[in-house]
Symmetry: C2
Subunit: 164 residues, 2 copies
DNA sequence: GCATAGATACTCGGATAGCAACTGTCCGAGTCCTCGGGG
DNA sequence: CCCCGAGGACTCGGACAGTTGCTATCCGAGTATCTATGC
C-alpha cells in the first residue's frame, strides 16, 4: 500500500497547469524546471496523464501540455488514477473456495465479506479524492504563489524573484 | 497503489481464528490447509501479525496461533497495517520547496494542500477499515461456514463433509 | 518587398536498463509429547 | 505400578533466492519556426 512517487509530481504539475491561461502550453522542460524534477522521468508520467485524458499534448516548438478540461472538471482522482491505474487496491482471489473447507461456488452468490469491506474502504478513498478538483487546490494556494506560477509559465526564461 | 496479496490471507486467517474457541490454537499448517495456501509463505505473514500484536504464537507441539484480543477488539485495520505497515500511502516530499519557483521554508507553515488532500483520503480509507472488527465479519458468515471452520480447527485431520 | 523552399531546433512518444519490494522457500532454535528403563 | 530421563517430532522464527513493478534514461518521429533564396 504505497503510492507511486509520480502521483505527487503529477498532482503538482496539474495544479500548476491549472494556473496557466487558457490556451497556454507548458513544455515538460518548463514543468520539470518548476520543481527541479528529472525531465525524462517526468515525461513518463505526463504521458500517462495524456493517455488518461487529463492532459492534451501538442508537438513541435512552442508545444507542450495543457489541461484537457477546465480545472473545476478535473478531480484529484482523475490524476491519481491516471498514474496508478483504475484497478481497485484489493483484489479478491476467492480463497474461500479453496482448501479443505472450500465453499462450493453455487453457495458464493453473495460477495466475500472480506472483499466487501476492503472494496468499501477503497470506495471511501476514491470518493474522498473525487470530491476535490484542481480548482479547489488552486484556491488554497497563496496569491503570491499563484502569481509566480503564472509568471513562470508565461516566460520560463526569467525566473521570478524570490518572495521577500 | 496495490495491496499485498498477504492482506487477503491474513484477513481470512484472522476471521477463521475468530471462530476458534478461546484458548484453542491453530498451527500454520492447519491454517494453510484450510485455504490451500503455501505453508511457508503464509508463515511469513502470520509472523507479521504476531509482531504487530494481533496474534499470539506458541511454540512446540500442540502450539500455534490465537488471537491476541477478543474478535470485537481487533479491527480490520489492525490486520491490514500489520501486513502493509502503518506509513501513510502518500508521502509528501515537499517539492514545492524545490525548483525555480521554490517556496521558502519559512512560508511553508501550512501543510502542502496536495498532501493534505491525499492524507485526508488516506484517513478516510483507514477510518473505513477501523470501523469493522473481526466479530463483524464473523457475523456475516453463514452458519454452516462457521460450523465447518470450528470443526476443522478442533480436528484438522478429518475434513468435514462438503455442504450438501 | 514578398512568397517559397529548405534547414533547423524544439516538442512529444515509445523502447530500453537498473533497482527495490513483494513473492516464495529453506533451515535452525525451542518446546512438548512419547517411549523406554529403572526403582 | 510409578517415576525419571532421553529421544523424537512438531512448532515458530529468522535468513536466503526469484520475479514483478517502479525508477530512471535515452533516442527516434513529427511539427512549427527561422532563414535564405528567387521573383
Amino acid at each position: 500500500m504505497k503510492l507511486s512517487q509520480g502521483v505527487e509530481w503529477a498532482l503538482h504539475c496539474a495544479v500548476t497547469l491549472a494556473e496557466a491561461d487558457a490556451g497556454d502550453l507548458a513544455s515538460r522542460r518548463t514543468l520539470a524546471g518548476y520543481y527541479d524534477l528529472p525531465e525524462a522521468y517526468l515525461a513518463k508520467h505526463l504521458k500517462s496523464l495524456v493517455r488518461a485524458g487529463v492532459l492534451i499534448a501538442s508537438p513541435g516548438p512552442r508545444g507542450g501540455f495543457r489541461l484537457a478540461r477546465a480545472p473545476e472538471q478535473i478531480t484529484v482522482l482523475d490524476v491519481v488514477e491516471a498514474i496508478e491505474g483504475t484497478t481497485p487496491s484489493f483484489v479478491c482471489t476467492e480463497i474461500r473456495q479453496r482448501g479443505a473447507c472450500a465453499v462450493p461456488p453455487e453457495r458464493c452468490t453473495a460477495p466475500c465479506p472480506v472483499a466487501q469491506i476492503m472494496l468499501d474502504a477503497d470506495r471511501a478513498w476514491r470518493d474522498s479524492l473525487r470530491a476535490v478538483t484542481l480548482a479547489d487546490i488552486s484556491g488554497r494556494l497563496s496569491e503570491p504563489t499563484r502569481a509566480r506560477a503564472k509568471a513562470w509559465l508565461a516566460d520560463p526564461s526569467t525566473p521570478p524573484p524570490p518572495v521577500s
